[in-house]
Amino acid sequence: MTAAVPWWGAAWRQFRLERRMFWRNPSAAFFGVLLPLGLLAIFGAVFAGRDEDLDVIVPGIAGMSVMSATFTSLAYNLTTLRERGILKRLRGTPMPTSAYLAGLAGNAVANAALQLVIVILAGHFILGVEWPRDWGSMLTFAAAGVVCFTFLGVALAHAIPNPESAPAYVNAVFLPQILIAGVFYDADEAPQIVRDIAQALPLTHLVEGLSGAMIDGESVATNAVSLLILGLWGLAGAVLAVRGFSWEARRDQ
């Protein structure tokens, strides 16, 4: 009876809207753009001239940026959207669910890409780190990291009861991981128990893959195990993300 709005059109419009809202929200724009730059600047100053350490933190902060752009922001945003009732309101419109989620995830992917570009450019021009040596391998790991942490971020949002407690939940997962995953120092120097725990976590493998590709020029095949572990985390995240999804605020259920 009525022509539906095309799926791609709906997803694209939602993506454009999310981009516009991202730039209008000062704190989101700050964390999205200035935080990775600021961290690079601080660690660049601390490790000035120590190429070995700079080679650790550039891929490390690249991996952290992928995680914060997807996992952290989606977990926080989805909780807020759900508890404010925006998700419920959208559910009452003809916009296809998958188009909406694609637009939302597309925004996170765009932020991850933006931050990756910033980190690589700043790493090269400010800290003097070489250009990534294996671009294909780096992009493969970045893409795997984006998919994995997007699903995990959506999954975590289901566990967060309200926006006020979202930072606590997100940081409880995010902070320990960036500390032990080798973002800021070479993970090989950590005690064995910490390394064992870190080996089970996805960020460690994202940083390992990025580091291998960017610094050592290692191919995807060399770090295939890391890619597999990222994939497994992504799969678990996808299952939890779909199963736990709720359009309605906790208080309404």
């Binding site: 009876m1 009525t2 022509a3 539906a4 709005v5 059109g9 709906a10 419009r13 809207l17 516009r20 809202m21 209008r24 929200n25 404010r84 009732g85 925006i86 419920k88 309101r89 559910r91 009452g92 419109t93 003809p94 916009m95 359009w247 309605e248």
Partner: protein, 286 residues
């Protein structure tokens, strides 16, 4: 304009609708029908089951049993989303978008949206169209709710307690919007616990209490067969009696009074207001 192939079907048909949350029965066999173009009021105290009922009709909740058709379709049918507008009880919008941007984005979700400027005017949002949503007052935010429910040019609109928490001026403004919707030929289903709101807006009301419909009909005819006869007794106390036949009762009362040589002070015969009916019905159950 609105789907000739389904125009003969009532907007809403509900038969034997039941819904429980765990052991708590929210709806216990509700029946009602809403005709096309009608403003239908679902009236009842807080916790009566009004929101459960409309959320089943809006497709948000599964029903446990009963038949429900909305515009001839099952309420869960996604095809309904383009034909139904929903104003939820409390629901946010994007804080960083302006009113106009929000309405324009919503317009893009629908196959045949109304003009954004026309919707802003209809909802009374012209003055704050370029303000960010997070700066709106409660009344303005509610008007934005209306605008978002209208922009898809729906045939049927659900309004769940549209004026709760409003000051009197904001309520009047919201009432004007609802009247404008009726004038556009829309079907409106309105839940409220304000009797004057139901009386002012609804063509028909159903009174819901504890998951059951206690009475249904046009607001000025509900309980119309019962008259209240009141007078002041010789000791000064106020007496009242309810009757379906005031003529006989008055004859009896006045005859007795005359026989005793008294007068019936403050004698009055009134048809009960919606409020009287409502209080009588809901108190009887409670």
């Amino acid at each position: 304009m609105m789907g000739t192939m389904t125009s003969g079907v009532p907007a809403i048909e509900v038969t034997g609708l039941s819904k429980a949350y765990g052991s708590l029965a929210a709806l216990r066999g509700v029946d009602f029908t809403v005709a096309r173009g009608e403003v239908f009021g679902l009236l009842g105290p807080n916790g009566a089951g009004k929101t459960s009922c409309v959320e089943v009709l809006e497709g948000y909740r599964d029903r446990d049993s009963g038949e429900v058709r909305v515009l001839g379709l099952d309420p869960k049918d996604r095809a309904l989303r383009a034909r139904v507008g929903i104003v939820l009880q409390s629901c946010g919008t994007y804080p960083h978008l302006t009113v106009r941007e929000t309405v324009a984005h919503w317009a893009g979700m629908y196959p045949r949206p109304r003009q954004v400027s026309e919707v802003l005017a209809l909802a009374g949002l012209d003055d704050c169209a370029d303000r960010r949503a997070r700066t709106l007052s409660g009344g303005q935010a509610r008007r934005l709710d209306f605008a978002l429910a209208l922009v898809g040019d729906p045939e049927l609109i659900f309004l769940d307690e549209p004026t709760t928490g409003f000051d009197p001026a904001a309520r009047r403004a919201a009432w004007d919007v609802i009247r404008a919707l009726r004038d556009l030929g829309k079907t409106v289903v309105l839940t409220t616990h304000y009797l004057d709101e139901a009386q002012a807006l609804a063509d028909r009301v159903a009174i819901l209490q504890d998951g059951l419909i206690l009475a249904e009909g046009p607001p000025d005819q509900l309980g119309a067969s019962r008259y209240r006869v009141a007078w002041r007794a010789s000791d000064g106390t106020l007496e009242e009696r309810f009757t379906e036949d005031p003529t006989a009762l008055l004859h009896e009362l006045t005859a007795d009074a005359l026989a005793r040589g008294e007068t019936l002070e403050d004698l009055s015969v009134t048809r009960p207001s919606l409020e009287d009916v409502y209080l009588e019905l809901t108190e009887a159950v409670a």
